[in-house]
Symmetry: C2
Subunit: 341 residues, 2 copies
């Protein structure tokens, strides 16, 4: 009798905030690999805000998860069966196996991870997609110069924490925004940001102005909403705004999304702002640079990272709903299985 | 008794649309040049939308015209007196003498124009600030590629007409938007745009979609408003939006300006748009390239231009108010004095 596996499928598309009823945890039989295939067992599932976009079928840069389909996601997985000469049992790989305990792969898109280099979970964190999102968006679009001021929200999270620390490495002033005193303390004391403000502060705009006495030169946009409104008037002439996410708006519906931006466009014009959207795959050519720099910075302790772990695949839907509200404190991971089978 | 001169001063700052009462035409005595100075007589005064910004004292990239001060503007002027070894009587120069018939200058910022090369008025049109705005914004920010689609509004005007014609030179499809059939016919038949739509058409969005079957890769933004709203959904992934003007919004007041752009920012993100404001002086280093290319294109007939002339400095306020409503058909000029004194 085959071993039992578990997966989370999308039952219905959320309107506004995702609910538990949009997901279903299913049991299924662990499949057997065919010729050329490997069987993967998930160790770590990465939960990331972009997944909210995949739950909707509006126009986006990627196709949505179909109804009844397994939720997409990056994983760190162990090869537990292989009929593929490129992979052996026991190999640890980075994969896009999704929200499930086991998956088959033809080997394409799998990247081997050397467990001797450090915790393998970093491959979906600081040394993976979130780290590279921070690296390319900040360096290739934001282009911070020494003495400039860089602001980033979700500053204790996977992307924001790297953005601020890289800004510091480049000689800029880093100001974070995060939810609550504990996160702000961590961002300042552990990560070395120059300042960090609580986005729940009713006087966020005033505090931000005080924290950025020379204005803002780079705003790494990953949240939108009230943070964007506080940041926007402080942008300096020739400021750059790499746009990587808008988590405050992912649950907007047609009816609630504010729409037409004349005031913003006037500032774009008079301040000669650059606002540029990107996703990390646009900078695929920079992957070797990223890995070289970031792994060195992590080794040297210049870039620290923090993980926020929930246990078991069953916890994924609630953890993801929490992530959209900032309930996590650090890179959100789900431990789907043990490090070694 | 000194000869009488005329100037237009700003009497009050407009709220919304400028009115005749915001301006006053004054007589004054023609001044005499001092040591190192030249006396200029205005031949052509260029009227341009940016002047609306100078009438207000909100934050912008340039200081406003003070109340009681002469309205700013570029001119083509004749040197009619000189105690400056760099200039002789009869020289034709480009200047920023403003809305007045005579002005003193210390020679700084004056550029001599060779009348043998063509009509001197081009120095404030296709070979001047408007032409260079089109050239740098389109080529340095818009970067149109062969086969791409470029859209520009105010397509019969000084900037828009050059944008579309340069787009054609670069192998792109050029779609203009203009006010009324006559302008659209001119844009298509004379300027060689692939298509031109009337912005008053109640079905502008639908017509634009038909005119851009492969979407829009570059939108040269000089108007905002309903045109922007029609364009925005058609922008392709990786589209570029150089923002040079927002004439539809120059008369907005705090109360009427729509504000917050979540829908727009979502498109910036998912389509990886680049929206970048600029003013022509940001690209001062490109002036020689511009003059070389544009004068050649004008000589070869690849870039045509059209002037819309009103007579006498007294006509400037009404002509300017008309310009903001699209009453002009071509580059708006005021003939302040004869070609040769």
């Amino acid at each position: 009798m085959p071993q039992s596996a578990k997966r989370v499928v999308l039952v219905s598309r959320p309107v506004g905030e995702p609910k538990a009823s949009n997901f279903r945890v299913e049991d299924y039989a662990v499949p057997a690999p065919g010729e050329g295939q490997v069987l993967l067992r998930t160790i770590w599932l990465s939960l990331d805000p972009y997944m909210r976009g995949r739950m909707s079928d509006g126009p986006s840069y990627a196709a949505p998860v179909p109804i009844g389909g397994v939720m997409e996601g990056g994983t760190v997985s162990e090869v537990i069966g292989s009929i593929n000469p490129g992979f052996a049992r026991g190999d640890i790989v980075q994969s896009r196996a999704g929200w499930q305990s086991h998956a088959l792969s033809d080997g394409k898109g799998l990247t081997k991870i050397d467990p001797k280099l450090g915790p393998v979970s970093a491959a979906v964190g600081v040394l993976g997609m979130p780290g590279m999102t921070a690296y390319t968006g900040l360096l290739d679009i934001g282009k911070p110069q020494p003495g400039e001021t860089v602001v980033v929200a979700a500053a204790s999270g996977a992307v924001g924490s790297a953005v601020g620390q890289i800004a510091k490495i480049k000689g800029a002033r880093a100001v974070g925004i995060a939810g609550g005193k504990d996160k702000c303390d961590y961002v300042k004391k552990e990560l070395g940001f120059d300042d960090c403000l609580d986005h729940r502060d009713p006087n966020l705009a005033g505090k931000l102005k005080d924290a950025c006495p020379k204005g803002i030169d780079v705003y790494f946009e990953n949240v939108g909403g009230a943070v964007f409104e506080a940041v926007f008037p402080l942008l300096n002439t020739f400021a750059r705004v790499p746009v990587c996410g808008l988590i405050a708006h992912y649950n907007d519906t047609e009816a609630t999304a504010p729409k037409w931006p004349a005031t913003m466009m006037r500032a774009v014009l008079t301040k000669r702002l650059t606002i540029r959207g990107f996703i990390v795959s646009d900078f695929a050519a920079r992957h070797a640079d990223f890995l070289r720099d970031m792994s060195q910075w992590v080794r040297e302790g210049k870039v620290k990272h923090r993980e926020f772990i929930t246990e078991g695949l069953d916890s994924a839907p609630a953890a993801f709903m929490g992530l959209l509200k900032g309930a996590n404190f650090g890179k959100q991971l789900v431990r789907v299985g043990p490090d070694k089978a």
